[in-house]
Symmetry: D2
Subunit: 337 residues, 4 copies
């Protein structure tokens, strides 16, 4: 339920209203104002629109039928802008996050970061705690990787994104990154979500590879409910019966999400397809479908990459993709640089 308040609301009436809500035991939040002040009631059990209408100071009531409340478009029609350093995600400008799957060394990270920054990436990505299917696969550089990320960020002035995989790393990851990534396998790791929400950084929430859109938005709701409104959604492919591509990129989710949630939506065509040559066309398609940006894996030497080399773009391919985005952006009412 969304309560729209009188335009001439006095502080007294507002206090009275809030007291009433607390007395009723209803969970509520003050929402980003539109033309009017608004309060969102989060309890799913509250259905009585007429009773809400009669609360002091309320002029209009809007029912939110979705199981997620704070994440619903109705709660914030203007759309959320997420800020990391100078970068704004969710605005008119398309934002590209690029870098290697995993940070492998200082040199590797710096050289890739330089290249992608030159060609148009606004943020640098690089995993240091890698959730790997097999215990025998490269698990990331850990602490050492965090230091490298910090160095990249300082040397190039580019904000960085890296993944958090355990509450035990939270403080250290939070200190070194501009955006905290929650990976696909952890989308429903609710304890990790709560912990990520409290780091005071924007959270990039990847879709679980078998999560419905509703479940995804409910995971975002955990973040919002814990008080962190700076959430970016990242579609990265879902698991289907098709095995020609690593996952099936669900691009239809993009325009659907733009209707039902106010959170920015970006697309990761690298993990979705797992095939280098599909990354460019699917990156283009993502923007054509209305995405706010891309997350793309780039490596200067994909053949030697310690993880996911098959899907990394060569730097020249990345540049070519950026050119395509420059051309497509105006068609969908966006700008690129």
């Amino acid at each position: 339920m969304i309560l729209e308040l009188q335009s001439d609301l006095t502080p007294e009436t507002k206090s009275e209203l809030l007291m009433k809500l607390r007395a009723l035991g209803w969970e509520y939040r003050e929402l980003p104002p539109t033309d009017v002040q608004r309060i969102g009631i989060l309890d799913e059990a509250v259905h009585d629109e007429e009773a809400c209408r009669r609360l002091p100071g309320v002029v209009r009531v809007l029912a939110v039928r979705s199981p997620y409340k704070l994440a619903s478009r109705e709660m914030h029609p203007a759309g959320t802008l997420v800020r990391a350093g100078d970068v704004v995600i969710g605005g008119r400008r398309i934002v590209v996050i690029a870098g290697p799957c995993a940070v492998e060394s200082r040199e590797q990270a710096l050289s890739i970061a330089r290249r992608v920054q030159q060609d148009g990436a606004a943020l640098f990505r690089g995993g240091v705690f890698k959730p790997r299917t097999s215990p025998y696969a490269f698990q990331g550089l850990g602490e050492e990787g965090l230091k490298i990320l910090a160095e990249v960020r300082q040397a190039l002035g580019i904000p960085v994104v890296t993944e958090l995989t355990s509450p035990l790393q939270a403080d250290r990851v939070g200190a070194c990154t501009d955006i905290v990534q929650i990976g696909s396998r952890n989308m429903q790791n609710f304890e990790l979500l709560k912990c990520a929400a409290h780091l005071g950084k924007p959270v990039l929430l990847k879709r679980g590879f078998a999560a419905t859109i509703d479940e995804w938005l409910l995971s975002a709701e955990y973040l919002l409910f814990e008080g962190n409104g700076q959430v970016i959604l990242c579609e990265r492919g879902i698991r289907t019966f098709e095995t020609s591509t690593r996952n099936t990129l669900d691009l239809s989710a993009v325009p659907l999400l733009k209707r039902i949630t106010h959170l920015p939506v970006i697309v990761d065509p690298s993990h979705a397809t797992g095939i280098r040559d599909l990354v460019i066309p699917m990156g283009r398609a993502a923007i054509a479908a209305g995405a706010d940006g891309l997350m793309v894996e780039v490596h200067t030497d994909p053949e030697q990459a310690l993880s996911d080399g098959m899907q990394c773009l060569f730097p020249d391919q990345f540049r070519s993709l950026m050119q395509d985005l420059r051309a497509i952006a105006p068609v969908v009412g966006r700008v690129f640089d």
Copy 2:
């Protein structure tokens, strides 16, 4: 296996070669020539490249590892052009097929056809034999619908596409349509495929809603093997666990198919999403991903449509989509009108 033949091949050596192949009992086809004359060996059991290399007149042998042979890109690197009337599908020009889900009346068909033709559709679609999940749903106008299609085609000079659902209708459908459509539920109705192949018309083969890309190309292979090379593939969404959209449009299939097969690939965003407002962004995305065209449902009165009204574009939306395609086409090296 593809056998490339000597550039100065004499008719005698060629006869000798073909005789040898027949003696070996190998299924083969003469392929569309590239720089050189080529013969394709279709038997999966033939693996001995060296033995092929020693056949008379052969200069080079190329193994085709996919289970489909005639449909593989290697068999026809230049790509297939499908022709229906004056329309060419698979060339530089993007082609749009539009019309109602089902033909409902002479007036409905004619008025929609006029609108979509004006706004840029190259072909008109309209189902007359409708495969419906429930026996209680509208099953199409049948014979009467075929007559209406014939009239639309004659009145407006627009080629038409309609679906064939049984060998028993084949002659009548073949006589009234420019392209024979095989629907998703019939993609592995192999007896129908054989029958469609023999009608002397191009075949638009929709992907089965739970078919892998390999299975889809093997169904195309049935058509090619029966002697019909004029085949268009149409991605229309696959069934996944996600229920927010009717199907999950597998757009990654588009650039993948462009690499592994020579057949044109179009996309149907209407059936894929089942939601009117997603058709425009996903239509744009399909072209950005490299599709050769779209198949889109349009209705002048979607609320009253006898089937699939929820996903039909209003004529004005269709016009707006066509504008977007005009803008996107050059980005991907294509033209629209």
Copy 3:
């Protein structure tokens, strides 16, 4: 809607009722009587229970909420018994259909049929028109296979089951088989369903490998609606992301179907798993879950089988499975021989 009629209904009132239904334009069927005479209204659009209640001769009205009507349990609470020769499917006795995937020769068919009959199979299965993913795979013996089936049936007195794949074969298949099988790929080949319904033989309807239970029952509804009430449902695995088994056998469908439909349900563990060693445990599990029978592939020489050899039981394994069924049947209130 189900209308229960007065116990002392006069022929005059009944005529009046039927006339009224026709006047209303409602599709209806007289249902198998329970304690009372009953009439089923098939139109989904008829929702007004009160209006139905006021029709002449009606004492009680039962709404059927499922999209399938004739197939719903409510229409025939006692359950349907399907009869093929002396065999009854859907009764207390568990019924096993066994034989090779494809009829390959007179000798092969006869020798396998003899073995499975001895060990407890009530019906013999063998494909002669084989729907194969690839045009290069063995397509079945066709006509010649039908003659072999006819011979097996006459020589051993065992009823046979074979698949129909096209309306063009319908008369010949109908003449040679005791049960007409509709394969998984044809579950939504509605023209074939209509044609199969009219052959005057029971129909074994396999679940489409990506069909929901509702869609499956709607396909059964096509058969019932065309006047053929002798329908057996066969669960044979669905397509999922798991590739360790050929399909994922959906055994939960069995107890669910027993609740929502009156049609007998059997299970095919051979196609479902695609792995010989899983057929016995899954055959046992199917009966434990409440299935009315099994369809199992058996071959005297699986290594040489022209199709699906990997999943065929050796005759000794088949005998061992039959022993297990004898032991499990009483636990679920059934008998085996």
Copy 4:
């Protein structure tokens, strides 16, 4: 790779062998002895069987082709027995774990535990940290729930199973439970797996709802690799397109797992189906398919349950299921009490 050692191996030769392996930098483990002493090489990169054969003291080499090594059947052909209190899982005796989805109160837990223990449950289950899709759903009693579990265990002498959802709870959960459960959503929460492995308690690892069997065994491999060999696998249904049941119970996984891994396998028909009336038939079927036990939800007042009430058995239904298991166990060579 598995190295089988000489039967008359001297301590000197063994030392030499181990030194060599360390020098090669190969990860290895001493395996449970069969007739012979065995050493498992875990590195996937080690492929040279001949080189392994020449190592000191080695008489035979067995390649393990699966990506998981320690979890593969070859590593421990006799099968693992997991022990919790007096209960042995994976032996001849079928083991049932029962209890409510969530611990709701002292009284609720005690009364349900008493009932299920009387009727044949060997272990009590009850969630106290509940991973819930929505932040607005009941999240479990937490600490207070752990105390109740400890009381149940002491009062009734029944070992208990409860779920761990964060490394931050690990010590407290480890102190109160006999088996640590890793839930479906956390199957690939690798940091949690590492943490659970070190608690010195058996781990019950539920299958991720979209995990392949290979991925599941690789998650088990994390536990084994961290030194905890006491792992139970629990199949609980996978996500598919079918929505009639909550998940699709993949029972074929049971006999498949029994062939490829030495770990015990149990089945949770409650979460799998989500429908109370399907729990009994699917519980029976699981045992018929070869499962080592069941995990079943039981509640004395399902209508009032704070989570998953729809799928909880009434105590009388649980008793009836136990009777069925008593009857089926001997058919599959097992005992129940």
